[in-house]
């Protein structure tokens, strides 16, 4: 833990090297704005993922995204279906995984973990096979796995912003039910709440949030950006609404800091962001213990 922390401190002089180019390069501005926009669904949905303890479901959904990305890439290149969008493929595979896992966790509770693992690995395997079948696109595999915030386009930003608005609207409308389902779903169902419906709603929101986070930190590290700022906020707050706000602020600050620190030394922004996130999480966890 200490070495990455020192590396980050050592990278601090790199920040000025970021501010100059930020003023002139549109791709850096898009990246910064993307990190700030993604913080809204990240903080809100991440808080639900943490309190409902479905981090591993979020992990499986994020890894299965590779199947959708691979399929779209394959169809575009090999079959000339250029109208397909990678983001659409990612969203489709994420939602499908969410449905499968949600259904299994409701019906066959005791085998839930096996199915989560299966979705996780089979999704990745399908993606890797499809990408290897696609000529000339191996480089994309790296950006899918590890993210590339510098490739965000204005269209991506609009999509991320729209998801943030949708998440906030849904959560404002159904806050009472979602809170009760996460806290004690048996009691909620006795009070007439259709708990299965809210279970799927949460998984659907998680799937869509995972898709936009993939563009920032990549498939492998999504689970950390989704859950660690929320878990850190959980250490610092006592009510869910406060936890969401703190988680969103942390997520925004961490992606911006990751971008700023990585730009000068030419490090991968996603990985630096996750290191910062991890350092903060472990620091607050240790502080809390004492």
């Amino acid at each position: 833990m200490l070495t990455p922390a020192l590396a980050i401190v050592a990278a601090l002089p790199a920040v000025p090297a970021f501010l100059g180019p930020l003023a002139t390069h549109a791709f850096l501005q898009y990246a910064l704005l993307g990190g700030l926009l993604v913080a809204v669904p990240c903080g809100v949905v991440g808080s639900y993922v943490v309190i409902r303890r479905i981090s591993y479901i979020a992990g499986a959904i994020s890894h299965s995204v590779l199947a959708g990305l691979g399929l779209v890439q394959y169809l575009r290149v090999v079959h000339g279906m250029t109208w397909l969008s990678p983001l659409g493929g990612a969203a489709a595979s994420a939602l499908l995984s969410a449905l499968v896992i949600g259904w299994v966790s409701l019906r066959l509770r005791q085998r839930e973990d096996t199915v989560i693992g299966a979705v996780w690995a089979v999704g990745m395997a399908a993606g890797i096979v499809l990408i290897s079948l696609t000529p000339g696109y191996a480089a994309d595999l790296m950006s899918y796995l590890f993210g590339n915030i510098l490739m965000l386009t204005p269209r991506d930003l609009w999509l991320i912003g729209a998801l943030g608005v949708a998440v906030v609207a849904v959560v404002t409308l159904f806050h009472k039910q979602l809170l009760a389902v996460c806290f004690d779903d048996e009691f909620a169902s006795l009070r007439g709440v259709r708990t299965a419906r809210y279970h799927f709603l949460l998984l659907g929101l998680t799937a869509l949030t995972v898709v936009v986070l993939v563009s920032v930190v990549g498939i492998i590290m999504v689970i950390a950006l989704l859950t660690l700022p929320a878990a850190t906020a959980n250490h610092l707050t006592r009510r869910l609404s406060h936890m969401m706000i703190v988680a969103a602020l942390l997520c925004a600050g961490l992606t911006a800091a990751g971008l700023a620190l990585s730009y000068g030394p030419d490090l991968p922004a996603g990985a630096v962001t996750i290191l910062l996130t991890g350092v903060l999480y472990f620091a607050t966890a240790l502080f809390r213990k004492r």
Partner: protein
Amino acid sequence: MTAATPVLAFHDVDFGYEGRPVLRGVTLAIPPGDLVSVVGPNGSGKTTLLKLALGLLRPTAGEVTVFGERPERARRRIGYVPQHAHLDPMFPVSALDVVLMGRLGLGPALGPWRRHDREAARTALAEVGLADHADRHFAALSGGQKQRTLIARSLAGEPELMLLDEPTAGLDAHVEEGFYRLLEALNRRLTIVMVSHDLGFVAGFVKSVICVGQKVVVHPTSAITGQVIADLYGADMRIIRHDHRCSEEGHQC
């Protein structure tokens, strides 16, 4: 509902988990205003009885009615108080947030709680003696306070029947005493059914006892004798013994 309709009734109910029978031929009727304790060894089917009454489980044979209706239809009139031990201790809610959950189905379906719901929740907290703890983190409350908060949550739903699952598990003796006084006060307007593995302790304050063993028997409290307990637990136990623990099989006490 006529005066004769029992609040909770079982008519020749059988229930089993995957072929293993748990309850057989259970018939009982709880009249309005009763304060009942369901007792029996661990694994005897006490909690199953409660879940059948809530409609969370369906009997394999026979019929369960609550206020003369199927349990699913009567749920709004039931206040359920589960054990608090299974709840996440880190969960980011205040005591008031928890109590407000009892208003689900009564308050608005969409958007935030109305002032009326908040007032009802605060009244419920005051009734269990936690008026000053509304804004405290649920996790920071003591075991007894958490239990009272969950009772307030069920009161916020304006129930006519309250079902409690092992409400005294893990409570200190002096906390338990105050807890029984609270239930006695609530019993002036509610029918109360609580599950307990602690027969001796409850015998002094409840109005009747349902003993769950291989057969289910209802007794008025005055009729609890050494013989009843011996039939139930399969050993000669004294009523005043407070600290007994039964084996998983439930027969070697």
